[in-house]
């Protein structure tokens, strides 16, 4: 059993999955170490303003004379951990609620799912505005707003999987053999939920980064002078001819989102054992 997890599955060998994983790991690495090695203080305004990319300032400087390279790298440590945290929170809460609804069914299911529907009816950006208006605009409040609307998709997916599994013959066979509810969940249900949920989560990291940057771009998230990618792009609008101010944060967002999407896609292949068969060209 354990061997299967150690062995590198064939799907990992797909070039996009590998590229995505490498880029994602590099960005996460940057996010956690950037503050230690960036050449300039990301908040320091002591360089010439609007300097084009060159030898001292790799990506130029912005309108306040701050080094964009340093701000970009530090920005990773603002957005990426928050996005990961957001996804983790949504995953834990959503999966739990979905599993409870699916496993117990009846009125529990009805109650939890109506709650989910209610929450899903909110448009994210408007909700974020409401939260910003109530609690004041800050990156943390943006995360709260994003969390409120993003857990239901995990709940829905988990519920539908658990609901389908509950009547599967092998789940029944296990129960007839005297499996405890915990063992049924661990042996027969969880392994079949983990895959789809991890796929969803890894695809969701990209979405979360887009969402947080988007909210910051609108001024509902990170506040100046925090070096956040969305707000950096937003600042670029005022200096349109200094292309480097907006380009590099934009590229950063693009690469991170794409990387996580590639990882998500190849995870999908790994967690579906039947898809490996179809890769080998066998038709069933």
């Amino acid at each position: 059993m354990r061997k299967r997890w150690l062995k590198i599955p064939a799907a990992w060998v797909t070039p996009l999955g590998v590229i995505g994983a490498v880029i994602a790991v590099v960005w996460v690495g940057i996010a956690f170490t950037a503050r230690l090695w960036v050449p300039f203080d990301p908040l320091g305004q002591d360089l010439p303003r609007l300097q084009a990319p060159g030898i001292d300032t790799l990506m130029g400087t912005d309108a306040l004379g701050r080094d964009i390279f340093s701000r970009l790298m530090t920005g990773a440590s603002v957005t990426i951990p928050l996005a990961l945290m957001l996804v983790l929170m949504s995953l834990v809460v959503g999966t739990l609620i979905g599993a409870i609804a699916g496993y117990f069914g009846k009125w529990v299911d009805e109650l939890l799912m109506r709650l989910t529907d209610l929450v899903m009816a909110f448009p994210t950006v408007i909700l974020a505005m409401v939260v910003a208006a109530a609690l004041g605009p800050s990156l943390f409040n943006a995360v709260i707003a994003a969390f409120v609307v993003s857990w239901p998709q995990y709940a829905r997916m988990t519920r539908s999987i658990v609901l389908g599994l509950r009547t599967q013959n092998y789940v029944m066979a296990g129960r007839l053999m005297g499996f405890s509810p915990f063992k049924t969940l661990r042996v027969d249900v969880a392994p079949n939920v983990v895959g789809p949920i991890l796929v969803l989560a890894s695809l969701d990291v990209g979405t979360a980064i887009l969402l947080l940057s988007g909210l910051s771009f609108l001024g509902l998230g990170a506040q100046p002078p925090t070096p956040e990618w969305g707000s950096m792009i937003s600042a670029a609008i005022q200096n349109f001819d200094s292309w480097w101010i907006g380009l590099f944060p934009g590229l950063a967002i693009l690469t991170v989102v794409m990387a996580f999407n590639f990882v998500g896609d190849s995870l999908r292949d790994i967690f579906d054992p039947t898809s490996q068969v179809s890769r080998a060209g066998a038709r069933s």
Partner: protein, 280 residues
Amino acid sequence: MSELLEVSDLVIEYHGASVVRAVDEVSLTIAPGEVLALVGESGCGKSSLARAVVGMEKPRAGSVTYRGSEVPLLGVRRRRAQFTSIQMVFQDPNSSLNPRIRVGQQIAEGIRAAVERGDEGSQPEEWLDRVGLPTEMVSRYAHELSGGQRQRVAIARALAARPSLLVADEPISALDASSQASVADMMRRLALDAGAGLLFISHDLAIVRLIADRTVVMYRGMIVESGVSDRIWNDPVHPYTRALISAIPEPDGKGNLPAAPAAEAPEEWRSRLPEALDRT
């Protein structure tokens, strides 16, 4: 005779837009070492009855008693050890096995159930061998097997739990024609070797008559005819049983068309004939 399983006046209803009575006051018994076949066409209630026997269906009325105690509903809670000696083989081999666990480990779960009950342990390989599969298959996953092999694994897993009562719900209908008879025969042999009772549900009377000691014919939720298999096959009394048997095309190459009922579901099929029950 002390009965292993006793179903008495069982009623199962489904409540939807209207109430559907799937099983209508059915009674039957199975003794240890006996093969009882439950035969009928789609929608006759035979699967509902099978599910009620193992506790997957809640009876509306009547009772299912296993070794003198009522079979509890298979709820969220853990099944007590005294009832893990009731095992089931399902119709669809594709959903019978957990796709993410190796075959050997799934059979081992059956063995564990037997051990926990105080029965003797065994190795998954033994069971694979007994159902006619190579022992190397312990390390395979379900999707690497054919439908027929999956069903054999499901049978091995159920037998590994050393059941005293094995319920098989259309275990052969998803298999290729050439293996149906042999799998049915294998189930009979293995169940009898273990001294277990076998409740074998099928729509195929031709196969059932070869493996079942007694046969129960169901139509629209009711038992219309029951008794010794050969007796029913050679001399059916109830009009439905007659229609059922004469509709089976004989594979003799003579080009005889089987008799078709004059109408779909004639009224006489629903009649109750006391002389058609418990025939010896």
